[in-house]
């Protein structure tokens, strides 16, 4: 199967406020920002982290699609769940790497080939680079010229701070609003759950430029990424926090370089997974058979006694 490097250049417009937070100052949550060198000095500009974009646009929807397609709901072990949805952990690293499992995993699961992950006893490297979401603003003008595959418009860009707004919500206290609903004696109990919370947000309408780079990948791998992004879009297309309150909705345009038949790639990937459904399930069982260290020690002890 021929392999090449694909670059998926994305232009994402915020349809609602983006609250991709980094920390807090008092009661106010702060936006994730990155330092940028500008002619006026270093400025801290709102951005979307590569980790968040990778997880929200690719891993999470891709793993969800595999869960649905392979009928894994309600059957996961803890290791399988952590591996598929969060990249897994590597608690049994012991200097032995099963190359058959690694190669089978990459052959059967193009998504996992691209993303990589930690099996209980070995690390499986990935091929995907997820670039950060760069805000289209004056401070990033120089970087955008490097990032964009298209010429940037000559119109002057607005400063980053003009895209920063705020939000404020209130959590009500039902016990104060409708004390008659409480059991006898509870109405007098002190303490209110009423809370005002606020924070910074990137204004709706802001545009972010980001990119996924798939090194040495096949059409199946490209299909896995595109299908994941389609699934992400179908499930709300959000990034950052408070998506439950309507925040973080993106409208994303994707440009694939070199040009590829994206529908054919997605079709090839779905057919590949459907054709290998049983093999995929069996391999996940085999690759993620985690041996509890205590059980292992107990087995060793029994074997010694028997010996």
């Amino acid at each position: 199967m021929s392999q090449r490097t694909y670059r998926l250049f994305c232009l994402s417009t915020a349809i609602s406020p983006i609250t991709h937070a980094q920390g807090s100052a008092g009661n106010e949550s702060l936006l994730f920002r990155e330092p940028v060198v500008t002619p006026q000095g270093v400025r801290h500009v709102p951005a979307l982290s590569g980790n968040a974009l990778r997880n929200r646009l690719i891993r999470d929807p891709g793993a969800q699609w595999l869960t649905d397609e392979l009928g894994l709901f309600g059957t996961f072990t803890r290791d399988k769940l952590a591996f598929l949805f969060n990249g897994g952990n590597n608690p049994q690293a012991g200097g032995r790497e099963n190359t058959r499992i690694i190669s089978d995993l990459r052959r059967l699961f193009p998504l996992l080939r691209v993303l990589g992950g930690n099996l209980p006893n070995q690390i499986v490297g990935g091929y995907l680079q997820s670039r950060r979401g760069t805000l289209v603003c004056r401070e990033n003008a120089q970087r955008l010229r490097e990032l964009c595959p298209f010429p940037m418009p000559e119109t002057p860009l607005r400063p980053a701070e003009s895209f920063v707004s705020g939000y404020q919500y209130t959590r009500g206290d039902k016990s104060r609003q409708e004390p008659q609903m409480l059991a006898d004696g509870h109405a007098e109990m002190s303490g209110s759950a009423l809370m005002i919370f606020s924070g910074q947000a990137v204004t709706a309408g802001a545009i972010f430029v980001h990119e996924f780079i798939l090194r040495d990948c096949s059409e199946l791998d490209l299909g896995a990424i595109l299908l994941s992004m389609q699934y992400w879009r179908a499930r709300g297309a959000t990034v950052g926090g408070m998506s439950g309150k309507g925040h973080g909705v993106l409208d994303t345009m994707i440009h694939v370089d070199p040009e590829a038949d994206t529908d054919a790639a997605v079709k090839a990937y779905t057919e590949h997974i459907r054709a290998n459904r049983d093999a995929c399930r069996a391999l996940l069982d085999e690759a993620l058979r985690w041996e509890d260290p205590e059980e292992k020690a107990a087995k060793k002890g029994k074997a010694k006694k028997a010996g």
């Binding site: 490097t5 330092p35 060198v37 270093v42 982290s49 590569g50 980790n51 974009l53 990778r54 869960t67 894994l72 709901f73 309600g74 059957t75 996961f76 072990t77 803890r78 290791d79 769940l81 952590a82 949805f85 969060n86 990249g87 952990n89 608690p91 990589g116 209980p120 990935g126 995907l128 680079q129 997820s130 670039r131 950060r132 970087r143 490097e146 990032l147 780079i213 090194r215 985690w290």
Partner: protein, 189 residues
């Protein structure tokens, strides 16, 4: 063990039994900003209903196999990284290509360098390859002194007027990860 066997058009010279590339360590300008950023992972307990009923137990997240983490990354904000190297053109099937052209072709596919490139760190905007008349791959002049430019084997062969180094025990050529190639070396500082 043989060292520095990666097939790239960087020249190599032998010091003792070690082949050492004629290429400096990366040289960074003073960072515009230096800070720690963090990357995190946690067990996906928000998907507990996906687990087999027998697996729905208490998951320890402050230790053991499902330990959550928030690990720091040392981040330096620089606008460029520079290497000095010596390279010779090689004959390719399509004819002899200059070393610059070969390096330009090889670096074109490098989109990021350093750690955690999978989540956007170390992104490279472009590679510029320029030819200069001097060889500053191992040593660079600084007045009447020479500044060390890369890890090299320690020994009497080093110039007497060498500056800017510390003595260590470690690797000075690939495979850098393999302790079998460790030896007394001098490191730029």
């Amino acid at each position: 063990m043989q060292t520095s066997t990666i097939p790239i058009p960087i020249d190599r010279a032998k010091i003792g039994d070690r082949l050492i590339p004629l290429c400096s360590s990366p040289i960074l300008p003073k960072p515009a900003r230096e800070c720690a950023e963090y990357f995190t992972q946690r067990f996906p307990s928000d998907r507990a209903e996906y687990l087999d009923p027998s697996q729905r137990t208490i998951v320890v997240t402050n230790g053991g196999p499902y330990k959550s983490y928030r690990l720091p990354l040392r981040v330096r904000l620089v606008d460029r990284v520079v290497w000095f190297c010596t390279a010779s053109g090689r004959t390719s099937p399509s004819g002899t290509k200059s070393a610059s052209a070969q390096i330009r072709r090889l670096t074109r596919s490098i989109t990021a360098i350093g750690r955690k490139t999978s989540i956007g760190y170390g992104a490279v905007g472009r590679w510029d390859v320029e030819e200069i008349p001097d060889d500053w791959s191992w040593f660079a002049p600084d007045g009447d002194r020479l500044v060390l430019m890369r890890p090299l084997p320690d020994g009497d062969w080093l110039p007497k007027n060498l500056d800017g180094f510390v003595r260590e025990h470690g690797p000075c050529a690939s495979p850098y990860w393999n302790s079998a190639v460790y030896m007394p070396i001098v490191l730029p500082c």
